[in-house]
């Protein structure tokens, strides 16, 4: 790191220089221009938000500031001093800390070991660990950041893992803290706690940059906000002077209908009955603890809950991906094989469609062409089969072409591999495949995660259309807004059980949030 005094810069007598100044930052990943000539200023002691569509370049920009990526061009000033950030080491030395979207923790290490990694005091571990233990105690007291220093990081919840990340930054005496989508994995209560910490930090004079998709959070905690679009910085505004819909418009470049339009549901008979479902994972931990509910024609049953409370397992058991430990699922009078012999293809034959939570890992084969992906799971159907075990590739291709047109998947070229589509279009490929089979029951996990606002509109419309065609839909989402907007009935899951059932018109975020945290407000009352 080289520090050069800028002669044009006012010194101590003048007002404090901004904590962060990014000047003309550009960055390309191969053919992708992730950041284009970006300039941004953050005042010292401010909480600054950054919003933008998926892939807009937010993480890239902050990773450059943190020295994780190297910018192709541009300059950085920290506290008014031109600073060359060659790597994360230099960033740390300049007082910058970052909590990455995907945590950078060593799962097999203890909290303490994770905290000192790279900030040890000498070649031997013992003294470093002892010192860190004390320091952690102090930080915990000061900022409400309690964690057991000897816990193995892989075994604590994401909320605590995030605290470890913040502790790591504070232990390195960060004056500037960057948080990349910190609330995506938190319960509302945990998120509130986080924001309290952030305000506390702000009071101590620290500068905070917050990347988030949730416009409400921007409105609640930030002082200023920047909007990014396709690698460019389109606006920086005082938060007080804007509104969510204005921000959304700035992000997408057109006005967005933020409400889902749907008629009241006409609910029919029960299609699927889940009774006493229990699922244990590989370590023998119960992930689903005796769950029962039923699903009816013509309804969207929303399952709310913080990620990791059993929703994934529920979806996977129903979708035939993992066996159940015990329990029963009855579909139209016949029970479904939940044993190890369960098989997702058989489920599809029974009329169960499945849009998985993780489209990258499950829903698509990223290196497969679109026409191969639109047959995924249905490749043994008669229309895709030929004699002697051969595949009818012509039929697959024609089928893909049609789906791409009907779902407005762009570019509509079935020969392109899945990874060359944007997140929204990838999700549309999965949806087209599952919805066009016209399943009796459609399982949908996180339908709009990482999907831009325009695509969200379309996807929501499709879900509602399927419901109106009299099909049953089980929707799992960590986004409360989405659950509230789409569901005709809401179940809240917490720690493998159904914590409560509500109708959307009779509840609010607050109550759902409490349920998601394992508290039943009705029971308490």
């Amino acid at each position: 790191m080289t520090v050069t005094e800028n002669p044009g810069q006012p010194n101590a007598a003048a007002p404090t220089p901004p904590a962060i100044e990014l000047i003309g930052i550009s960055k390309a990943f191969g053919p992708v221009q992730a950041n284009k000539d970006i300039t941004m200023t953050v005042a010292k002691g401010a909480i600054h938000g950054i919003v933008g569509e998926n892939g807009a370049g937010k993480s890239t920009l902050m990773s450059i500031l943190y020295g994780f990526y190297k910018a192709d061009s541009g300059r950085v000033k920290i506290n008014g001093v031109e600073t060359e950030i060659t790597d994360s080491h230099a960033a740390i030395a300049a007082g910058i800390g970052m909590v990455h979207q995907h945590f950078m923790l060593v799962d097999t290490f203890t909290v303490l070991e994770n905290v000192i990694l790279g900030a040890e005091d000498g070649p031997m571990l013992k003294p470093s660990l002892a010192k860190a233990r004390k320091e952690l105690q102090r930080l915990a007291n000061e900022y409400e950041l309690d964690v057991d220093p000897d816990a193995i990081v892989g075994e604590i919840s994401v909320g605590f893992q995030q605290r470890v990340e913040i502790l790591k930054a504070l232990y390195r005496q960060a004056e500037i803290l960057i948080l990349d989508e910190p609330t995506g994995v938190l319960t509302p209560a945990e998120a509130d706690h986080l924001f309290r910490i952030l305000k506390n930090l702000k009071e101590q004079g620290k500068t905070i940059v917050l990347i988030t998709h949730k416009l409400r959070e921007i409105m609640d905690v930030t002082d200023t906000v920047s909007v990014m679009r396709r690698g460019e910085m389109t606006a920086t505004i005082e938060t007080a002077t804007t509104s969510p819909s204005k921000l959304a418009e700035a992000m997408v470049g057109r006005s967005v209908i933020m409400e889902v339009e749907k008629a009241p549901a006409t609910v029919g008979e029960t299609v699927m009955e889940i009774k006493n479902l229990v699922v244990k994972d590989g370590q023998g931990v119960e992930r689903l603890k005796n769950i029962s509910f039923s699903l009816k024609r013509g309804e969207v049953l929303g399952i709310a809950g913080v990620a990791g409370n059993g929703q994934t397992e529920l979806l996977e058991v129903l979708g035939g991906i993992r066996p159940a430990t015990s329990g029963e699922v009855i579909m139209k009078g016949d029970s479904i094989d939940l044993t190890i012999k369960a098989n997702a293809q058989k489920r599809r034959h029974r009329g169960i469609g499945h849009v998985p939570e993780d489209r990258h890992a499950r829903g698509l084969v990223m290196s497969f062409k679109t026409w191969e992906n639109t047959a995924l799971g249905y490749h043994n159907e008669p229309e895709f089969s030929k004699k002697f075990g051969m595949a009818n590739q012509k039929a697959m291709l024609a089928d893909a072409q049609g789906k791409m047109e009907r779902f407005d998947i762009r570019p509509p070229n079935p020969q392109l591999v899945a990874s060359s589509f944007s997140g929204g279009n990838q999700q549309k490929i999965v949806l087209a495949r599952e919805i066009e089979r016209n399943p009796e029951v459609l399982l949908i996990g996180q339908p709009t995660r990482g999907v831009d606002i325009g695509a969200i509109e379309f996807i929501h419309q499709q879900i509602v259309k399927l419901r109106d065609a009299g099909k049953a839909i089980l929707l799992i989402s960590v986004e409360l807004d989405e659950i509230q907007a789409l569901s005709d009935r809401i179940l809240v899951m917490f720690d493998g059980i159904i914590q409560g059932e509500r109708l959307p018109e009779n509840t609010d975020k607050n109550e759902l949030g409490l349920l998601m945290a394992g508290v039943d407000p009705e029971a308490e009352a």
């Binding site: 923790l105 097999t108 070991e113 571990l125």
Partner: protein, 335 residues
Amino acid sequence: MDFGSILQILDSAVRFSTPLLLACLAGLWSERSGIFDIGLEGKMLIGAFAAGAFSAIATMPVYDGGWGWQTGGMWVGMVAAIIASILLALIHGVASITLRGNQLISGVAINFFAAGITVLLGASWFRQGGDTPQLPAGGRFRPIELPLSETLSDVPVFGPIYQNLISGHNLIIYFGFFAVLATYWVLFRTRYGLRLRAVGENPGAVDTAGISVVKLRYSAIIITGILCGIAGAYLSLGTSAPGFGRDMTAGRGFIALAALIFAKWRPVPAMWACLLFGLLEAISTKYQSIDLGFMVLPGQFMQALPYVMTVVILAGFVGKAIPPKAGGEPYVKER
């Protein structure tokens, strides 16, 4: 079986296990840093060759083109072995760290390369079909009698154990056991070890902590090279077959790998695993066929025993051996 034969078998087991142990620890360093290494065999082989060749050259009479050293030739061999093995390790490093190539393929290539080049060079240097000349006493590591081994030999039980089993091995064997402790200590007690373990689990965490992933991994690979070189040197300088013979590693690199998995990438269990494999080899050497009463296990069965046991152990007793999480995959920040 009397006490004497038991001691003899154990003694033999220690000798058989030493090259395995050194190679296993070598693999441990590499894999703990996130670089899979099935090229241990090749690095050992080239180490054995370099050791045999340079020790031979050092001790060969001057008129034969050697240096005419009477003693200490083995140290020349040892250094050569380490250098040769490090060079191969660096090729693996460039392939898997810098060029982000496939680590398995790189390992396979290195094994092939070593199998070929040792014979080519050996045949061209010494004209003995790829073998090196027999080494004189000054060109190899001789057993060391530990103090008091004669004096204590009369003490019942412990005396013979001390004299035969503990004393009377060469320096490399003692180094092997020292390396276990050193590996343990460095990995779990020092800053470097912490970082190294971290880079094998999550290189992103190391990178964002401001430490160079590349440097850490290269350093681990070099340690792997050193240890493999010593393992190879043991084969040509430390056994009763002084000198290099073609393909003399005979699959030990793979057994060492199996031991590493068996030990779940931990140094002390690695030692036990290697001793177990050494013991199996010692038994199959001493008992060439075993009469079970109702049938005789043929010699071929005894020969295959270490391999069969490897499979059985991997399948039956290891449980789920979870390798360092980042192992095998190159660290790619920007695609």
